[in-house]
């Protein structure tokens, strides 16, 4: 019951936050000097009448506050509006969301699958050569810019011919058998996944290592060891459970990142994801599309944090007790 009230409270708190986020983003986009019609204005074959009609169609002839009101109203009704090319924003997003989710889920799954054990391993073998090697590798992973790494891999793909140069599917994808389709997707996904994996792995592994080291150094672990518990029990039953709490918060953020897309990596690999769509929309000042994606990002972030907090309540008795007392 208490948890439910807590969730409800958090959702109510989110509303003013979303309003502020939407206001700020809307005004910043509209006040930026990007003119959605600039290209048309410099095209000698575009007539004045056409320009006038375009201005009216995009609502640019009205004051910003009226534009915001119109947008907010349709957003509340669940209508995301149309892009500057007249397509439905919702269909446009729907086209890209599966692709971005595919990439994000694979990357998160792989990084957690590899990063957590590596972090634990490094902490247990603290200051051993293995730990040192891992530290160097993760330093490289953190230091290398994703953009640069992606370009390097792309050149690698061109020179060797082992991987396709960007994209997600081959041109005859529609005619392939199921196994060929899976193989084709994997073939195309390998390089972008590798880039994102390398970069997020580094952070995760370090976080896990630091958490576990902290816990291993604490008094109750020393006490448990002194009590004569087996090393296995001390580490996996007591230390790890405590070390994992900050990771849950991290997972909440990762959830928020699911749909934000990795714009740079997507751009270099010509990956048909949300990141590239939004980047192009921003450059064009396509307000409905940009607003939809920003709002989506904000909602995902709030939801991610909420989920992490709920998970924390479930895993960490201390939080439950504190909340109960308060």
């Amino acid at each position: 019951m208490q948890v439910l009230i807590y969730i409800l409270k958090r959702i109510l708190q989110a509303i003013p936050l979303l309003v502020i986020v939407s206001l700020i983003s809307f005004f910043i986009i509209r006040l930026s000097p990007v003119d959605p019609l600039a290209e048309l204005k410099l095209n000698p074959s575009v007539s004045k009448e056409t320009l006038q009609k375009e201005t009216e169609r995009l609502g640019l002839d009205k004051p910003i506050i009226v534009q915001y009101g119109k947008w907010a109203k349709s957003f509340l009704q669940g209508n995301l509006g149309i892009t500057s090319n007249g397509e439905q924003v919702s269909t446009k997003l729907k086209e890209r969301i599966p692709n971005t989710l595919l990439l994000a889920v694979i990357v998160i799954f792989l990084t957690w699958l590899v990063g957590m054990p590596l972090g634990v391993l490094a902490a247990l073998k603290w200051k051993s050569p293995l730990d040192r090697i891992l530290t160097v590798l993760t330093s490289i992973g953190m230091a290398i810019p994703s953009f640069f790494f992606a370009v390097l891999l792309l050149i690698f793909a061109v020179k060797t011919g082992w991987f396709p140069v960007g994209g997600l599917t081959s041109s005859n994808f529609a005619e392939m058998s199921l196994s060929a389709k899976v193989w084709d997707l994997a073939h195309h996904l390998f390089l972008p996944v590798l880039v994102l994996f390398t970069i997020s792995l580094a952070g995760l592994q370090r976080q896990m290592r630091a958490n576990l080291l902290d816990v291993l150094d604490s008094d109750y672990v020393k006490f448990a060891k002194a009590k004569g518990l087996s090393n296995f029990k001390v580490i996996y039953k007591h230390a790890l459970r405590n070390a994992i709490n900050p990771m849950i918060t991290l997972l909440g953020f990762e959830f928020a990142g699911l749909l934000s897309g990795a714009a740079l990596t997507e751009y270099v690999f010509q990956y048909p994801g949300l990141g590239r769509l939004i980047l192009e929309a921003v450059l064009r000042s396509d307000i409905n599309l940009v607003m939809a994606s920003l709002m989506m990002g904000a909602i995902m972030l709030i939801a991610g944090n909420l989920i992490a907090d709920i998970l924390l309540i479930l895993t960490d008795p201390r939080i439950r007790v504190k909340r109960g007392a308060a």
Partner: protein, 614 residues
């Protein structure tokens, strides 16, 4: 001691690394020479396609060598991909390209000489203001329905003149507030009548024709619905087309796939229905670099090359599977222009400082700037030699180009003399001053981010500073610049580029007519459209009006020659150069006849693959 060994080792390694970098940066082979003459001049075009009747069906017969059926051509487009597949809604090049593949017009352009030639039309008779179009008998849409006069009348009357979709075709046809009329004479004949003789109209007849049975329901639902009709979300199966290919698949941000239209009306010399290719794929790539990588990786077959890439690809051409063609200068014009505006804005302030107005409105000043331009140097250093110095208002591949207007070299002496005669002088420090002792100093804008224009700006600044002027070069954000050019009008000099048409100068009327929306050098805001015109502006207005009304090519050419002469003498735009188009295509593709007017792959139906030939 041990430490030192490590330090030395690291240093040696680092030095070797640097050495290898340096080595890589110096190309071993000498940079290859770019062919100065464009290849299109030596291309032998096959005779024009001609009508050939079998069983009462008026096919169009290709006269190109007979090829083999099958295979696919993979091309690419840069950017976000098509925004619509509706030919009447397209506002960008990529959408237009896609609809050109799918929908044919009544006429098309001859690749060799640029004359309008029949396509869906069997023939066209021009009789004063009347254009009588005879449509091919028995040719079909991709769904098997016949293409008739009803489709043509519907397209023009209901869609275009009805104001559906992108209205720029309609807007450009309004003469004295009236639109041309369209009338069905019989099942295969349509008569268009313009209000006055209007020469550009014939080019408009290459506008795609829509299948009435598909478009009519959409038109009935109103303009807002029409705007979303045949959008990129439409099921490809529902497309009914008249072109060589029909849509098979559109994968957002990845590719557009077309398959051959089995009902196409062009046949080869063996009377087999074209096109030869089974599929046509356009990859949607985000930027130039990715496109080049895709071509290198063998994922696309044809590419437009720019800058340093040309030399790199040229070097490898002889032992590779592609051939590079130089298609000559394109329609792009790069120019420097000055603000000749002498009017005041709403607050009663001059758009341009009156001191500067005196300079810019002085023909001697403009000519002096023109003679100071080192165009050759700019072509060599900025366009990697892939450009042609430009002096005329019409682009170099235009069929209306005035060939009497001669190019000339940079001539600083002449510049200085012109300035001296106009009362300018140089002070002790070598600064240029006008006769009221004002130091000649102004701002030069261009759009930031366009590296080519920025580079031109730097060189223009140097060239003008050789005359003792002080030039403040300011690249600004594109939208800011456009706003300056069309709204606030507070700029001194600008470097810009525009593209035109090699076939129809009338498209430039927004730039050249004194009330045009892009009449940059003397832009009139809405309120002072009627303000005083300069004498030569009046002349150009007259030439443009007459040029559009005259019908014969020779007569029109006279007027457009004259406008180019005035522009050449008055220098409202100081033209700099036109880029040259370089394209590469894999050698396995045959029947490739690149044209300066229509590009590389305009004859999609005739292109075939010959695997054995290398």
């Amino acid at each position: 001691m041990k430490k030192w060994v490590y330090v030395i080792l690291v240093l040696v390694f680092f030095a070797l690394f640097l050495r290898s970098c340096v080595h890589k940066d110096n190309p071993v082979a000498e940079s290859p020479e770019i062919r100065p003459k464009s290849d299109v001049e030596s291309i032998v075009f096959p005779p024009s396609q001609k009508t050939f009747t079998i069983n009462g069906i008026n096919y169009l017969q290709s006269q190109a060598p007979v090829g083999k059926f099958g295979g696919e051509l993979r091309a690419s487009t840069i950017g976000e991909g098509p925004k619509t597949f509706n030919p009447f809604n397209s506002k960008d090049n990529i959408s237009s390209l896609m609809s050109d593949v799918m929908y044919d017009g009544l006429l098309t352009t001859d690749a060799e000489i640029g004359a309008p030639i029949p396509k869906l039309a069997k023939s066209i008779t021009i009789n004063g203001n009347d254009y009588i179009v005879d449509i091919r008998r028995g040719i079909k849409w991709s769904d098997g329905k016949e293409i008739t006069a009803d489709d043509v009348v519907f397209t023009w009357q209901n869609i275009i003149f009805g104001g559906y979709g992108n209205t720029s075709t309609r807007d450009s046809l309004v003469i004295d507030g009236k639109l041309p009329s369209v009338k069905k004479i019989d099942k295969y004949t349509v008569k268009f009548t313009t209000v006055k003789p209007f020469a550009p109209f014939i080019r408009m007849l290459s506008t795609p024709i829509a299948p009435k049975h598909i478009f009519e329901p959409a038109v009935k639902k109103g303009k807002d619905y029409f705007y979303t009709f045949l959008s990129t979300n439409t099921d490809p199966k529902t497309f009914v087309t008249s072109g060589a290919f029909k849509l098979k698949e559109y994968v957002p941000a990845q590719r557009v796939v077309f398959e051959r239209n089995p009902n196409y009306y062009i046949i080869n010399k063996n009377n087999k229905k074209l096109p030869y290719l089974d599929r046509l794929v356009y990859f949607i790539v985000g930027d130039l670099n990715n496109e080049v990588l895709k071509f290198e990786g063998g994922e696309i077959d044809v590419i437009g090359l720019q800058g340093a890439n040309v030399a790199r690809f040229k070097e490898r051409e002889s032992h590779s599977d592609y051939k590079i063609y130089n298609l000559g200068p394109n329609t792009g014009t790069m120019f420097l222009t000055m603000n000749l505006n002498d009017r005041k804005n709403k607050d009663g302030k001059f758009y341009v400082d009156p001191i500067k107005q005196r300079w810019f409105r002085d023909i001697n000043f403009r000519l002096a700037c023109d003679y100071a331009m080192d165009r050759k140097n700019m072509v060599l250093n900025i366009a990697n030699g892939l450009g042609a110095p430009l002096f005329t208002a019409e682009s170099l591949n235009s069929i209306f180009l005035n060939e009497n207007l001669q190019p000339y070299e940079r001539n600083l002496e002449k510049s200085k003399e012109l300035l001296k005669n106009a009362g300018y002088f140089w002070d002790k420090k070598g600064h240029l001053r006008d006769k009221y002792n004002n130091h000649v100093e102004f701002d030069l804008y261009t759009n930031a981010g366009n590296t080519e224009r920025e580079a031109i700006g730097v060189m223009v600044k140097q060239d003008l500073e050789d005359l003792g002027m002080k030039v403040n070069f300011k690249p600004v954000e594109f939208n800011t610049l456009v706003n300056k050019l069309v709204n606030t009008l507070d700029w001194d000099m600008v470097i810009m580029g525009l593209t035109g048409s090699p076939l129809e100068p009338n498209g430039g009327k927004n730039v050249w007519m004194s009330d045009g929306t892009l009449h940059m050098f003397n832009q009139r805001s809405e309120d002072d459209k009627l303000s005083k015109r300069l004498d030569w502006e009046k002349e150009i207005d007259e030439m443009y009006t007459k040029g559009a009304l005259a019908t014969s090519f020779d007569e029109r050419k006279k007027y457009y020659d004259e406008y180019q002469r005035i522009a050449y003498e008055q220098k409202p735009f100081i033209y700099i150069y036109s880029p040259i188009i370089i394209m590469a295509i894999r050698t396995k593709f045959k029947n490739i006849f690149p044209s300066a007017l229509t590009g590389m792959t305009y004859n999609l139906e005739e292109i075939y693959i010959n695997k054995e030939a290398k």
